[in-house]
Symmetry: C2
Subunit: 330 residues, 2 copies
């Protein structure tokens, strides 16, 4: 039986082997991705990102338990762009192991950055495709940090949670400005800590900056949205990021967060956004394959000596990179 067939049969050992081959971008991994591709497109991909210290791993763990209660199969992909470790469960594994170890409906995979970031996003996309084909209903993609890696991974996900926590300092909140734009749900974890009101106020202020056509008020638990006059092309409903407080270590607020996520899925499906995100994702995968192929064809045509000689001319300032480009590309 082929590796991909074994994965479709939910063989965990085969799944683990295939993931390693996909991460290493081996021939066999690519062939299997090709075979699995028709079986993809069913899973709900949830991105979870936030700064260190916000308790992302605990939250992801609790969300996995939440979906397990509904008998959904759950995969966790923990992406750490700054870690040199890949394979197995490294990130927050102890916390996870306690509640999830031995559960056949859960599969945890840690990934790290090897090579370029484009490479990491592409590899994560491929790993997610394998889980999708293998019949996992929910795929939680966890990223650490607040950089471009998170934005790239968010492009993969249908629903993106950005996690905050009280008392991490103004500096950490400031770095979030760009990350906020990718948030579908803002989760304030460790909501039992002092300062939670300040964190929520700060996030609400930043949300208003990021979504200037909407003003959202929270008034005695009642959510009020006031529209600026919409432009003609903005008539369809838009999703205003919701702010949810949870205390993940005690499981508090997780069910409510699950409801919010379900509401977001319904919104995506109703408005055609689900299909649009999937198309954009597949297009990015295809574009990356084309670019890689074109460049390897280019390098094959130019001899290694010819390429080195050209770079040497650039280093010697005899050609600018743009002049060198003119020289080799017609």
């Amino acid at each position: 039986m082929s590796l991909s067939q074994a994965v479709l049969n939910q063989d965990r050992l085969a799944l683990s082997r295939l993931l390693t081959r996909v991460e290493n971008d081996s021939e066999e991994g690519r062939a299997a991705l090709n075979e699995l591709f028709p079986h993809t497109g069913k899973a709900h991909l949830i991105g979870v990102t936030g700064a260190p210290g916000t308790g992302k791993s605990t939250l992801v763990n609790q969300l996995a338990l939440h979906y397990r209660k509904a008998e959904k199969r759950v995969a966790i992909v923990a992406v750490d762009p700054s870690s040199p470790f890949t394979g197995g469960a490294v990130l927050g594994d102890r916390v996870r192991m306690r509640d999830l170890y031995g559960d056949k409906g859960v599969f945890i995979r840690s990934m790290a950055s090897r090579g370029s970031l484009g490479g990491l996003a592409q590899t994560t996309a491929a790993v997610v495709q394998v889980f999708d084909a293998a019949g996992f209903d929910v795929i939680l993609i966890e990223t650490v940090g607040a950089g471009q890696a998170e934005v790239d991974v968010a492009r993969l996900a249908h629903t993106t949670l950005v996690v905050e926590a009280p008392g991490l300092g103004d500096d950490i909140q400031a770095i979030k400005a760009g990350i906020l734009e990718i948030a579908d749900v803002l989760v304030i974890n460790k909501a039992d800590r002092p300062g939670v009101e300040n964190t929520e106020r700060a996030l609400r202020g930043m949300l208003e900056l990021a979504h200037p056509t909407r003003r959202v008020f929270q008034h005695h638990g009642q959510r009020m949205v006031v529209d600026a006059p919409p432009k003609a092309e903005e008539q369809q409903p838009i999703w205003v990021p919701e702010i949810k407080r949870v205390t993940a270590k005690d499981g508090i607020g997780i069910a409510e967060l699950g409801e919010t996520i379900a509401r977001h899925v319904a919104f995506l499906r109703a408005g055609g956004e689900w299909a649009a995100r999937e198309r954009a994702q597949l297009q990015a995968t295809f574009d990356a394959l084309v670019q890689e192929k074109l460049f390897s064809q280019f390098l094959a045509k130019l001899s290694p000596e010819g390429y080195d000689a050209l770079i040497s001319k650039i280093v010697a300032r005899e050609r600018s990179p743009w002049e060198a480009l003119e020289e080799v590309i017609q």
Copy 2:
């Protein structure tokens, strides 16, 4: 007079205009980069990276003052991959303005992430080339965070400082594992704070993990390096990252840090590493130009309708991305 000629004449207004054009990747910006290219390759590029709260901006400010005392012209490029703001001096600008405002020998530019990260690294490289051609002797490239952006920017720099500070928590130190590998100098800022011993001990432990062939001891201020038996190809001297304590807000330790940086430059020049880094950087610039050109040629050959139809087949799972690639690339 052309914009690039005005930049070579150190016209600040022209410089500011050209930077905007380069950031927007305009035709005129590209043409000017082409004209300026023969004048590049003289500046010393220093990357400064670290987590939020480590006081990077203050440190960069102090280093700028340090080099100004030696009459060197200093450019500061502040790269914030998570910020939506570009242009002008946004990042830590108040601190900088106080000491550096009005000094014609200093130019500060803030950049943010627009488009892909590859794009950000490429744009930063182009901005640095402009400063280099304009005769700035030292270019300080400051990045926020701990992700791939920092690693990419570090590839630009001749010397990379990674900044830490006591009391930021274990979590933030843990995320540094990957970042440590790019450090030429580890700077412990805010060294007047409690916990500085712990921070230094933690960094030293991580250094030993990252550089397992060397063991470095600090004994009564004496630096001792014990070699594991070197392999044949490792006979040339290697640079062991140094750990320096500073209190940037009071200017303490800055002169000593400047000496360490000067020692690193001497090391790079003596061993041929300076030239190797420059070549790798120019090669990356050239490769990115080639890839971009090849892909735009590909899109031009395939009609927009043909491209959309192909993506639609992938979305419908009638073709895998790999099969679609076979179809369009011979």
